[in-house]
């Protein structure tokens, strides 16, 4: 379970302080798929980094599996937004996936099995020997996802993982993430600035306001578990939900402007 209580994060330094997050309270149950949506610069990455133990909150509390986060928690994997920079360019794809397993102390045979399984789970069964820079952007992000899967995390955090790939690849990757979640059953926190993507993917959508950032709404997505790019996106309920989220964000902007 992920618990965030009255989280505040202010970046300080050289006279200029930035209040990235003002007041975030949010809970994610084990095995849930929650999407966090908010405009660029509202502090989504900051939120994930606090959860991942890469950043210390200014105030408030962050707990993963009942433990207060002070450093990177056990069993948590992050897929970063900058896929091109999160893979080691001097390691082959399989070695990239294997590296965290090595530091986990997993034996050689088991490592190899996990690498193969995770690569085929993302549809890259035969790319193990390639270097990351020999792959397209979409494939690189698949590798990053495979690395997270192989780590066998209980919690997976994804930071706008598909913001920089083309629309077709993006649709494929969205479905891949759903499949992975259904197959491995981890808790998933997926951050995006794209309202449609958030509604399409999540069981629940958390809407963040623009800076100064707080939670605008916590919305259950009552669509069926089987989602399909064409059918789901044209369902009346889907359109209703996305319109609702959109309206909430617009409304909040109006209030802020006044």
């Amino acid at each position: 379970m992920l618990e965030i209580k009255s989280l505040r994060k202010t970046y300080g330094g050289q006279g200029r302080t930035v209040e990235a997050l003002r007041d975030i309270t949010l809970t994610v149950e084990d095995g849930q798929f929650v999407c966090v949506v908010g405009p660029s610069g509202c502090g989504k990455t900051t939120l994930l980094r606090c959860l991942g133990g890469l950043l210390t909150p200014t105030s408030g509390e962050v707990k993963v599996a009942g433990q207060t986060v002070t450093g990177p928690p056990d069993g948590l994997a992050i897929v970063f937004q900058e896929y091109g920079r999160s893979l080691f360019p001097w390691l082959r794809v399989a070695e990239n996936i294997e590296l965290p397993l090595k530091s986990k102390g997993i034996g050689r045979a088991e490592r190899r099995k996990l690498v193969d399984e995770s690569l085929s789970a993302v549809g890259l069964g035969d790319a193990g020997k390639a270097y990351p820079w020999q792959l397209s952007g979409g494939m690189q992000q698949r590798v990053a996802i495979a690395r997270a899967i192989a780590f066998q995390p209980k919690v997976m955090l994804m930071d706008e993982p598909f913001a920089a790939v083309d629309a077709q690849t993006r649709a494929d990757l969205e479905d891949l993430v759903r499949t992975v979640w259904q197959r491995f059953g981890m808790t998933m926190l997926f951050v995006t600035h794209d309202i449609d993507e958030a509604v399409y993917l999540g069981q629940r959508v958390v809407v963040l306001s623009a800076s100064p950032t707080s939670v605008l709404e916590n919305l259950d997505i009552d669509l069926s578990d089987e989602r399909d790019q064409l059918k789901t996106r044209s369902e009346a309920r889907f359109v209703e939900l996305r319109t609702h989220v959109y309206a909430r964000i617009q409304e909040a902007k109006g209030v802020a402007a006044r």
């Binding site: 890469l54 920079r85 080691f88 001097w90 965290p100 820079w133 020999q134």
Partner: protein, 259 residues
Amino acid sequence: MTRVLSRTGLLLGLPVVLLVTWWFASAGSKSFYQPPLETIIKVFPDTWTGARFKSDVFPSLIRLFIGYSLAVLLGITLGVLIGANRRLRALVEPLLEFLRAIPPPVLVPILILIAGIGNPTKVLVIVIGGVWPVLLNTVEGVRGVDEVLSDTCRSYRIGGWLRLRTFILRAASPQIVVGARQALSISIIMMVIGELLGATNGLGYTVVEFQRGFQIPEMWSGVFVLGLLGVLLSLAFTLVERRVLNWYHGARAAERSGH
């Protein structure tokens, strides 16, 4: 195949032209100090194979090898420590700037005073000259490691020796290689300088001995040996670099082609 040939051609073209020009320009020269190239080449085999190889070339090579290796190792070790530690960096950076500004050859007499004129001093001379480029480039390389990769390591709890070996050193390797290449040519220069003062054998010593004994063709041939040594070591370095930085050149090419 044709590419290899044309590259070899480019590589050897100018040196061959120069040598041929020298050959004809110096042919029949009566000048004592500028003997014909033909004479220099004639004395070359007798001068540098056999006994002299063992007594002078070999000791020089060993000293160069040890001195250069130590310079690279020391440079990388200190460079990683300083580069990874912001406070230490702030503390030692002014000192490094000062030490770097001292031309290493002026330290040779001081070293001789302190450590005598034996082999350790000659190795130390090479280390003192070669360590700077490696050290400073390693510091830059370690400082410039990618933050996202750094976060990736933290998040996946990749730490200690594994992190050093598979992240820090590899990420800094393009810069370390630049430093190591500069250190190689400096090391050869320092090797010769170390052998000019108070030595009893070695390449530098032999060249000076020939000059003092007015064996001018032999002296010239010694200069050739040093030049050849530099070229061969630089070629060997390029081969190693290709292996170590294969990923780097590949990634750069992929970036340029607009991935």
